[in-house]
């Protein structure tokens, strides 16, 4: 049976398992219908022109993991930001794992989507926010919505500054031959509240995994949200990340995406503005090789006046790796005095590496500042010669240059331990030990 048919026939069984109130049932039913109608995206669609899921969809995925699989903390410690205290919402093969987690209801909610969806006390919040900013049209988002049941639920009340970062990690053990995961996260950040979140998907074994994740983030007036995505997965892992962000007046939301691994990774990152003087930041570093593929598909929808958006994506592709950057900035007629900036720099190290870069600016207001820049090049030979002349061997010189190339993005990481971690991952990725932390 093809994956699409398998998913559709699993849907009824899925809904029978869980106790859902009728509103949720209606949302799910509409979603599965949309998915049934549209199916998986293909390269014929403009938005998926450069990314094919065909090879990934051939696997016979388990849609519901059969077992609860336990893992030892020691095994996975390195994937945590263990240097500092954090809240943790941890899943293993799609199931919440309490002993690896550190959730809370003390002044803030850092807990489970399944509780929020099913417990009456959360009903009002769910009615107000769940599936409100996520697309009802995009087929993979609909597929996730249909099966949405587990993930992280984070609700930060007004004026609360969360003092430690929140880590959301999805592990897959590989005990299933092939596993499909559909995590669903909901993040609500109240007026003047501030939160930092780190999200990671991590396979522990070479069996294929397909993750189709949806995250909705609501930033209320003057809220500050810093969201970091670490994608450094095994070669057998595939990820479609759909993130939808709703921002109210004077809120500041930044999303950093670090793509260092995985087989096929697609990041759909969407920002929507509902108020003035909003600030949106989208940054990314992609360093991949072999036949890895990373596709950044961003949208910033400027609908209100006096807002800013800043995009900066750095990509380094080695071997036969392929990269895509499609950055869309949409400025509505009402969105006067918009300041939208987009930059995308790419370095191709391998003769067979390919990048498809496509800035897309649709501007309907007449008093705006929109700029974009895109470069594709090789490593600067003069800079290489300079470092080699100082006695630094080619490999290390190359690593230093790549680090320097990514530096603008690294510098804007606001959690020092995370910054260190990312630079370490980059150094490992580049295979160098320079005697100092890059």
């Amino acid at each position: 049976m093809e994956l699409k048919e398998k998913l559709i026939s699993s849907f009824m069984a899925f809904e029978e398992q869980i106790d859902v109130h009728s509103d949720l049932h209606d949302i799910r039913t509409a979603a599965i219908k949309n998915f049934e109608h549209k199916g998986f995206p293909t390269k014929k669609e403009e938005a998926w022109k450069y990314t094919s899921l065909n090879s990934v969809l051939k696997n016979d995925y388990s849609v519901f993991p059969k077992h609860e699989n336990a893992i030892e903390f020691a095994e996975v410690k390195k994937y945590f930001l263990h240097e500092i205290d954090t809240y943790k919402v941890i899943f293993v093969d799609g199931k919440f794992t309490s002993f690896l987690s550190a959730t809370t209801h003390d002044g803030i909610d850092v807990c489970l989507m399944s509780s929020a969806l099913n417990k009456p006390k959360y009903k009002m919040v769910i009615d107000e926010y769940f599936n409100k900013i996520a697309s009802k049209d995009e087929s993979l988002t609909s597929l996730n919505t249909a099966f949405a049941n587990e993930g992280a639920y984070i609700n930060i009340p007004k004026s609360k500054v969360v003092e430690k970062p929140i880590e959301i990690i999805y592990f897959s053990t590989g005990k299933e031959n092939a596993l499909m995961l559909q995590p669903r996260n909901l993040v609500i950040v109240g007026e003047n509240a501030h939160v930092q979140i780190i999200e990671r998907h991590q396979s522990l074994n070479e069996n294929p995994v397909l993750t189709n994740s949806v995250t909705e983030i609501f930033a209320q007036k003057r809220a500050i949200v810093d969201y970091y995505k670490i994608q450094n997965d095994l070669q057998s892992a595939n990820l479609v990340d759909n993130t939808y962000i709703s921002q109210k007046q004077e809120s500041r939301v930044s999303v950093h995406t670090f793509s260092f691994g995985g087989n096929i990774t697609r990041n759909n990152l969407n920002f929507y503005h509902f108020g003035e003087r909003i600030d949106s930041t989208l940054k990314g570093i992609t360093i991949i090789g072999n036949k890895q593929h990373v596709d950044h598909y961003t949208l910033v929808h400027h609908a209100t006046p006096n807002c800013e958006s800043h995009q900066n994506y750095k990509t380094i592709l080695a071997d036969s790796a392929t990269g895509v950057f499609n950055g869309k900035i949409y400025v509505e007629k009402e969105a006067q005095k918009t300041d939208a900036f987009q930059q995308n720099n790419n370095i191709l190290l391998g003769d067979k590496a390919t990048i498809n870069a496509k800035p897309q600016l649709e501007i309907f207001a007449d008093d705006v500042k929109c700029s974009h820049g895109c470069t594709i090049g090789q490593l600067d030979e003069t800079a290489m010669f300079y470092m080699q002349q100082r006695g630094i061997p080619k490999k290390e010189a190359k690593a230093l240059l790549m680090y320097a190339f990514s530096n603008e993005v690294i510098e804007s990481i606001k959690i020092p331990e995370l910054k260190q971690r990312i630079t370490k991952i980059i150094a490992t990725k580049l295979g160098v030990n320079l005697g100092f932390d890059l």
């Binding site: 030979e381 080699q388 002349q389 061997p393 230093l400 680090y403 320097a404 530096n407 005697g435």
Partner: protein
């Protein structure tokens, strides 16, 4: 120290050096002067091992060993230093971290232990004082946002740290005001001793007031056409290069 014989080199099939002969002994300062496009910077790049140039003939001996086939970093490990006319910016890597890496790579290549941290700090302090560098400067990203003078001072600081056998200063005076020029020249003079050698590449005589050469060579059209003492530089400053050209034609 350095012996170059019959060196021919080209870039993209264009001949730039057409038979250079040059010998520099330990303890000596040599200057190469010449009009723009004569091949001065090419010569310094080739001695340092820039792979963009093709050496078609001749040899480069450093202390009797042919280095013309070695990678730039191998030459650096053997004691060749080139102060760049346009030093490269490396965001995110501090001056301190860069020089630490350079020193320890050199030590590694020469089978030495890494330099202990306290020794390194002491050396950095000593050499940065020699170049009258601000402490804050050392934690800034390498050359990023540096003024022309700061870049050159940083080059000579690195030279001081690495203690090369042969230091080539490529147009080190360009972009320097008189104070920076004095500091840089003073740094070079203090580092100079009986066991190392300096090759100054320059278009103008100005730097040679401060770093006084034992020999001045005139490079024109890929060849050394005249060699003299420090007074030759003064003569060139006064009369330009045309008279040498005429002398050649005669």
């Amino acid at each position: 120290m350095l012996k170059i014989s019959n060196l021919h080199a080209s870039v993209e099939d264009k001949d730039i050096l057409k038979g250079i002969n040059l010998e520099i002994k330990a303890g000596e300062v040599h200057a190469i002067m010449g009009p723009n496009g004569a091949g001065k910077s090419t010569l310094s790049s080739i001695i340092a091992g820039n792979e963009n140039y093709e050496v078609s003939e001749g040899e480069i001996l450093l202390e009797g060993e042919d280095i013309s086939e070695l990678a730039p970093e191998e030459r650096a490990h053997k004691g060749v230093f080139l102060s760049f006319q346009y030093p490269v910016e490396i965001p995110g890597v501090s001056v301190t971290n860069f020089i630490k890496t350079a020193i320890n790579e050199k030590r590694k290549a020469n089978n030495q232990e890494e330099m202990p941290a306290n020794e390194m700090l002491k050396l950095i302090r000593e050499k940065s004082e020699l170049l009258e560098m601000d402490r804050k400067f050392l934690s800034r990203s390498l050359n990023e946002g540096f003024s022309g003078g700061e870049k050159k001072r940083n080059e000579i600081f690195q030279m001081a740290m690495l203690e090369p056998k042969l230091a080539i200063l490529d147009e080190t005076d360009s972009g320097l005001d008189i104070d920076a020029l004095r500091i840089v020249a003073n740094g070079v003079n203090k580092l100079k001793n009986e066991n190392n050698a300096v090759l100054v590449i320059t278009h103008y005589q100005r730097l040679l007031d401060y770093i006084v050469p034992d020999f001045v060579h005139v490079l024109m059209d890929g060849k050394i056409v005249k060699t003299g003492g420090a007074d030759l530089a003064l003569e060139l400053e006064e009369k330009g290069y045309d008279w040498i050209k005429q002398e050649q034609e005669v």
